[in-house]
C-alpha cells in the first residue's frame, strides 16, 4: 500500500477536501486510461472515470486496504465501464432492430476506428479482439496494455488467479484461431 495514498486517504476520511482533490488528481489519469481501454470512447471514458472516482470518494469508508487504493479504484472503474458496455450493447440491439425494420443503414454512428491509422495487421488484431468475449478481452487488455500482474487482475475483476489463467488461455486460444485465418498475422 502506497504510504502517500494511505496518508491522503486518512486525511480525506477526516474531512479534508484538499486531500480528496489530491487523491483524485493522483489517480484520475489511470482511471481514465482504464476506462478508455474498456469503452474505446474518450468522452464516455471521461464520464466513467469521473463516476468511478466519485463513487470511490463516497465509499471511501468501505475501502479495507486489503489491496492498493489504485487496485480498488481499478475495480470500481472496471465495474462502472462494464455496466456502460452492457447498456451500450442493448442500445446497439435496438439500433440494429431499427435498421432491420426500416432499412436505415444510412443513419449510423461515426466509427472511431475511422480516425485511427492502422496497419493491416493492427486492424486484424483489433478486429479479432472485438470478437472475443467481454471478460476475455478485458483480461488481455489489463495484462498486455496496462501490464498488470495476474494477482492484480484477479483483484480488479474480483475472481481468483486460477480463473484469470483460464480466461487468458482461452483468450489466446481464440485469438490464435481468429488470427491464423488472416495470412501472415500469426503462424
Amino acid at each position: 500500500m502506497d504510504r502517500t495514498d494511505l496518508q491522503t486517504i486518512q486525511r480525506v476520511r477526516a474531512g479534508d477536501q484538499e486531500a480528496a482533490r489530491e487523491l483524485v488528481e493522483a489517480h484520475a489519469h489511470a482511471a481514465f486510461r482504464l476506462a478508455l481501454s474498456i469503452l474505446d470512447d474518450p468522452a464516455e471514458a471521461e464520464e466513467a472515470a469521473q463516476d468511478a472516482l466519485m463513487m470511490a470518494l463516497e465509499h471511501l469508508d468501505g475501502f479495507r486496504q486489503e489491496a492498493a487504493f489504485s487496485t480498488w479504484l481499478y475495480t470500481i472503474t472496471a465495474n462502472t465501464c462494464r455496466m456502460r458496455l452492457r447498456k451500450r450493447l442493448r442500445k446497439r440491439r435496438l439500433q440494429a432492430a431499427l435498421q432491420g425494420l426500416f432499412r436505415l443503414d444510412r443513419y449510423r454512428n461515426p466509427d472511431p476506428e475511422e480516425a485511427v491509422i492502422w496497419s493491416e495487421v493492427q486492424a486484424q488484431v483489433w478486429a479479432a479482439l472485438q470478437r472475443l468475449g467481454e471478460t476475455e478481452r478485458l483480461v488481455l487488455i489489463l495484462r498486455y496494455y496496462h501490464d498488470l500482474p495476474i494477482h492484480q487482475i484477479a483483484q480488479v475483476l474480483q475472481v481468483n488467479e486460477r480463473t484469470i489463467y483460464k480466461y487468458l488461455k482461452r483468450a489466446h486460444s481464440r485469438l490464435q484461431v481468429l488470427l491464423v485465418s488472416k495470412t501472415g498475422v500469426v503462424e
Binding site: 482533490r21 483524485v24 486510461r33 481501454s37 474505446d40 472515470a49 447498456k87 425494420l101 436505415l104 495476474i150
Partner: protein
C-alpha cells in the same frame, strides 16, 4: 532440476513474459508443445500491445481536476451526513426493514421465487423523457419517433442513477422538440440496476407521422414481419390477435413470436396520420445475458402501453 508440468509451464508463460526462468527454459528446450505455446503468447502479447498503444495512446486524458467544486461539495456533504448519522441511519434502516417485511411477507405469493418487477405503467409515468427522431428527413414517411424503454438486471448490481426527486433514472435527452409531439407528452423509461431483478425486457415504440397513410401502413406491417424474418422465426410461431384500440384508433395487428433466444410482441395501430408500432422483446432461455430470466410483456401490458401512447397523440 525441478520438473515442471505442462500446466505449470503454461501458467508461468502467461504470468511472466518475456521468459526468463532457468527451469522454465529447461522445460521449453525439451517440450515442443509448450515452446509453441510460449511463442504464440509472446507473439500475441506483442501484437496486442502494439495495436492498443497505437489506438489509445494518442488520446489526450482530461485535466486532472475532473470534479467541479459543486461535485466535491456534494461528495463531502454525503460523507458528512453518512458519518454523522450512521448510527441513526442504522436504527432507521432497521425500523424500515421491519416495516417493509411486515408489509411484504403477507403479500408474497407461494412459489414466487423472484420479486416482481415494478409495474411498467408506474415506471412509464414517473421517468424523465427521452425521444429520438429516427427518420428525420424521409419525405415519403413524414417523421418517425423512437421511444425506448427497458428494464434489466445487472447481474446483481445495485447501482442506480438517482434524479433530484429520488427516482432511479438514466437517459434524459430529447433530440427533437418541435411538434407534432410535445416532448413533455412523450415519456419513456430506462432503468438499470434493479436489485435482485431477474427480468429483462426492452420496449421500443416507433411513432410515424405519415404523409401517405396507406403506404406507411404497408411498410409498417412489412417491417414487423421483416424483424421476425430476420430472426428466422417460423410464421407458425406468430400469434395474431385483432384488437380495437378505441373510437378513433384502428388496430392493425398484435402478434407475438418466440424462439429460444427471443420473445417478441408487436402492436401496431393507426390514428389519423399517425402510425404507432410498439415492439417489445425479451431474451429467451438461450440468450446469454448474465443471470437473466426473460419475461416478455403480456398482451394486456402491450395494450396498456398502446392505449397510453394513443392518448398522447395530439
Amino acid at each position: 532440476m525441478k520438473t515442471l508440468e505442462h500446466e505449470q509451464v503454461r501458467s508461468r508463460i502467461l504470468s511472466r513474459y518475456p521468459l526468463a526462468e532457468v527451469e522454465l527454459a529447461a522445460h521449453l528446450d525439451s517440450c515442443p508443445d509448450c515452446r509453441a505455446f510460449a511463442r504464440q503468447v509472446e507473439r500475441h502479447a506483442s501484437l496486442i500491445k502494439e495495436t492498443l498503444h497505437v489506438r489509445w495512446d494518442p488520446v489526450e486524458p482530461p485535466p486532472r481536476s475532473v470534479f467541479s467544486p459543486i461535485r466535491f461539495r456534494r461528495i463531502f456533504l454525503i460523507r458528512k451526513v453518512s458519518s454523522s448519522y450512521r448510527a441513526l441511519a442504522w436504527a432507521g434502516g432497521l425500523l424500515l426493514l421491519v416495516a417493509v417485511l411486515s408489509w411484504a411477507i403477507p403479500r408474497l405469493a407461494l412459489g414466487q421465487v423472484f420479486p416482481a418487477a415494478p409495474s411498467f405503467f408506474n415506471l412509464f409515468r414517473r421517468q424523465p423523457l427521452r425521444a429520438d427522431t429516427i427518420i428525420p428527413n424521409a419525405e415519403d414517411l413524414g417523421e418517425g419517433w423512437l421511444l425506448t424503454a427497458e428494464k434489466t438486471d445487472m447481474e446483481g448490481s445495485y447501482y442506480f442513477d438517482i434524479d433530484p426527486n429520488g427516482n432511479p433514472t438514466i437517459g434524459t435527452h430529447v433530440t427533437k422538440t418541435e411538434p407534432p409531439f410535445d416532448p413533455e407528452l412523450i415519456e419513456t423509461v430506462s432503468m438499470r440496476g434493479y436489485a435482485h431483478s431477474v427480468q429483462h425486457w426492452t420496449l421500443m415504440a416507433v411513432v410515424i407521422v405519415s404523409n401517405d397513410t396507406a403506404q406507411a401502413e404497408t411498410i409498417t406491417k412489412e417491417s414487423m414481419l421483416n424483424l421476425g424474418i430476420d430472426r428466422d422465426i417460423p410464421m407458425d410461431q406468430y400469434t395474431f390477435t385483432d384488437v380495437t384500440m378505441g373510437d378513433e384508433a384502428k388496430m392493425v395487428s398484435l402478434y407475438e413470436a418466440q424462439d429460444e433466444d427471443l420473445s417478441l410482441s408487436f402492436l401496431a395501430f393507426r390514428k389519423g396520420r399517425v402510425l404507432v408500432l410498439v415492439i417489445t422483446w425479451a431474451p429467451g432461455a438461450g440468450l446469454s445475458t448474465g443471470q437473466s430470466q426473460a419475461t416478455a410483456l403480456s398482451e394486456a401490458q402491450m395494450l396498456e402501453i398502446g392505449r397510453m401512447i394513443e392518448t398522447r397523440i395530439p
